[in-house]
Symmetry: C3
Subunit: 139 residues, 3 copies
């Protein structure tokens, strides 16, 4: 049984989905593990992870559009407002999605379905450098 761990930095330029499927696949193939479990983990609380359709880019637009409407800026009951109007909504959107996703690995590849991509979901407006940690265990 073997393991590998590594981190990747994703530069974001405002809200939306940034695909990281290639980085994930490269990490898995670099580890030389045929069967196992790969975990993606994001070390921040105002962005998140999501597995979603990677065929039609409109899906990504609509996903971001839904979360913008569900958790709008300017909710007047918020207490945590010191880091800007988009900060607390970003924390809430991150809470509604995932910080960590585990994906089985088979025949040397993550078992993502045909239309599934792994995305970093940025919730802040300003550019950020986001650190993802990948870990794999298997053989």
């Amino acid at each position: 049984m073997q393991q590998a761990i590594d981190s990747v930095v994703v530069s974001t330029r405002g809200p939306g989905l940034y695909e990281v499927s290639s980085a994930l696949r490269n990490f898995v193939s670099g580890a030389g593990i045929q069967t196992g479990l790969v975990t993606a983990f994001v070390r921040h609380t105002s962005c998140s992870l999501l597995i979603q359709e990677n065929a039609d880019p409109d899906v990504q637009t609509d996903l971001d559009g839904f979360f913008q409407r569900l958790v709008p800026e300017g909710m007047d009951w918020l207490v945590h407002t010191t880091e800007g109007p988009d900060d607390m909504p970003a924390h809430i959107k991150a809470a509604l999605t995932q910080t960590s996703i585990g994906i089985p690995v088979n025949q040397g590849r993550p078992v993502l379905g045909t239309w599934q991509g792994l995305y970093l979901f940025e919730h802040r407006r300003r550019p950020h450098r986001r650190e993802l940690v990948f870990h794999i265990i298997g053989e």
Copy 2:
């Protein structure tokens, strides 16, 4: 340390929760692993996974009812509409729930609580065949 990986197909007939706890337990006991981690992963983006109460079926009805109200069909700002009125809402509901769930295994069984069941949460109206991948590692 050992591993096992397998997939299971669940046939769905419209929105709602389909319990897969037995399939999970069968997979774990078949692997002969006493202590470890089992991961359930669904290879689609318009259905999802959920651990929820398996005692009163009304809980499942209300869960589906809430998501239908939170993400209704017919939101007029949606761009991705070519796959039918229930497709983009299905992607959003999947984003709000899980694609992957890891469950520790102890004494040869997933450590689900007394009232916890593992469910496939179907978000599309038409019948679908949904593929779940189970992976376990441990000894």
Copy 3:
């Protein structure tokens, strides 16, 4: 490759976030594993897990405030009402967050970011004793 598994009980006194980062770190350091994957799993369906900012406590107040507004008590279409007005909203809030979170371990510590804490998110009003299971695999 080694494993460890243990459970921890968290006493809650009403809705809100209860930090369990120390319990997680103690479990990881007690296992003596340098590189691996630690999983936190909660054995209940009316509370959940969340990784969120642990700097400003207002973030936790606002997170709970958002979920209280998104899933209020008294939605008149609910069917499952026998366990009290806060029970079905609690199940829904649990479905919108996580029951299980996997965190890579590096240099003997979970790779939580500077501002990330692991929280038990209680959704019920009455005091509860909540059981968390921690599992780690690695070496």
